[in-house]
Symmetry: C2
Subunit: 345 residues, 2 copies
């Protein structure tokens, strides 16, 4: 069945029924001119992020389910990056009317799964026809007693990341070889890992490659989970989520805090899967970790001397932005990463 | 200059500088992972609306300035339709990287003008490349002590609209004849009304047509202003803004309130411009008023016996949905109006 065979009003009714359960602080959810929520007693956080077909995603590489999951995760990641609790979601969906209804359904399955993971409630949105490409956006409302800005880093603070970097970018490189969507185990359909690995083995001429080292990288790219900041908010002086790449996002902290940074490549946390698979791919794992995006780990600063559950990758300095390699050689860095409207793409 | 020659980061910086002034209850505006706002002591209202090129608008008919103005107005209208005060705006903009920078600038001029009109502050958003078409969305946060739902209409209530209907749809019909954007006087560029009227006169073979009767209709379509509900919130039992057409939006009130409605065509307020120009166009003004969208007047119900500053167009009944014409002839109506993914378009 195609979307035009069901129509906006019927589809809206289905979405409303599916997501109508909500806690009593939501006075009006889906189905009125606006949602209404009881006053929150904490500071209100609001973020919005778009995902545009052929720009942010390609349905040859990602399933609709993964797309829905990811759209929610990237927005949650922004609320987490402020030290906040995500709460209420609004969804804007523009799809061509000839799109198979299943694409919408699987997309909503992914949204639903992520909403459950993060404890969110859908309170509104908008549906529209598009001429060709799918354009998605989500707006997420959260709250925080104490919020953490990008601008609070102080000279002498230490720089931390909450987990391994580069996995997502490596997952994307793998997908470019696989050249089709990979259904992961929490996905609507199940995949035979064997066929994926076979495709990769023949492409990469590598016999040793196995599903256990490929799957986590694909998962990091296709079904990214935002990092809950609970254990770090107490001490963080500044924070951002790594969506565009370590260097560009660290540059943002430096810009906003008017400080410099010195990071040590040997401290950058790299997964064993990244190390192995990037060598098969002939790509430097460090390059993926420094400039690859979409890891959705938190990058933050905290004063020296605090006990922090994260990896120390460098220090905040007066002004220069420096990467120190394993031999002690230094180079300066600037905001290397993806930029919209840029000439790179 | 094209967008790719300026790039996302530089553009973002320009937008941030332009819109950075904000009141002290905005703790963080543009430029962090999320905006932060001090707790509001009223109920929170949130709405979001998309505008997709070739679906909601066509740049052969509307200027970028008007597009920006309209995007804000349609969202404000949703907050007003809840009886709320609009406050904080987030903007998502996806444009092709080869788009002229001026398109973005004029669009932001229109956004800015509307923000000033409604007293809004820009607190966030997202910029993205698009492959081809422009996709816009806005999220608007407002507040209300007492909010008005669609579901509150009671049998015996009277049905009101705040102003003339059909003007916007008639403006659109005119634009289809004019076949190019019309710059109105508050627009970035000025227009010679003469050339527009000449084009229309020759197309419609009408000598008498003049700018004074054309301009208000074009303005209602191109630069719609949302209706402040202040004078009606006290008495309204249900409310909606007319975005998709009187019949479809009244049907929504009936659906949500589980009631019927009886409206009288002779009571539907029609502007003198609509009456004159629709006759030139050979279109029934009543059809435009009943099924044309985008008037952004408020449609509401209130108990009988209240002094209401709006036009009484009918009454809430038990169940049937009836239009009574000037001769007393009755017909039932259903949700006639635009539907996304529908087969009509």
């Amino acid at each position: 069945m195609k979307l035009f065979q069901i129509g906006e009003l019927c589809l809206l009714e289905q979405i409303r029924k599916r997501f109508e359960q909500h806690p009593p602080n939501i006075l009006i959810g889906i189905g009125d001119d606006a949602a209404a929520i009881k006053p929150l007693n904490e500071n209100l956080l609001i973020t919005t992020d778009m995902m545009v077909e052929e720009v942010h995603f390609n349905l040859n590489f990602i399933t609709p389910y993964q797309l829905g999951f990811k759209l929610v995760s990237v927005n949650v990641s922004d609320i987490y990056a402020m030290g906040g609790k995500p709460k209420f979601l609004l969804l804007n969906i523009a799809m061509n009317k000839n799109t198979d209804k299943k694409v919408m359904d699987y997309f909503l399955d992914g949204v639903d799964e992520a909403m459950k993971l993060y404890g969110l409630f859908l309170i509104g949105g908008d549906l529209s026809t598009s001429c060709k490409d799918i354009t998605l956006s989500a707006t997420l409302v959260g709250s925080a007693k104490k919020y953490i800005k990008r601008s609070g880093a102080k000279v002498g603070d230490k720089i931390y990341v909450t987990g391994n970097l580069g996995d997502s970018a490596c997952g994307l490189e793998l997908l470019k070889k696989i050249k089709r969507p990979v259904h992961l185990n929490k996905d609507t359909q199940h995949e035979t890992p064997h066929s994926i690995v076979s495709a990769l083995r023949s492409q990469l001429l590598i016999k040793g490659l196995n599903w256990n080292e490929v799957e986590p990288l694909l998962r990091r790219h296709l079904l990214p989970q935002a990092r809950n900041p609970n254990s770090v908010t107490k001490n963080a002086t500044s924070m951002i989520d790594i969506s565009d790449g370590l260097l560009i996002d660290l540059s943002r902290i430096c810009d906003e805090s008017k400080v410099g940074a010195r990071i040590y490549t040997e401290n950058i946390p790299l997964s064993s899967e990244l190390k192995r698979v990037s060598s098969y791919l002939g790509i430097s794992p460090l390059r993926l970790a420094l400039s690859g995006g979409e890891d959705y780990e938190l990058l933050f600063t905290a004063p020296a001397g605090k006990k922090i559950e994260a990896t120390h990758i460098g220090d905040i300095t007066e002004s220069e932005r420096v990467i120190v390699d394993i031999l002690g050689k230094e180079r300066t860095f600037s905001a290397e990463g993806y930029q919209h409207f840029g000439v790179q793409r």
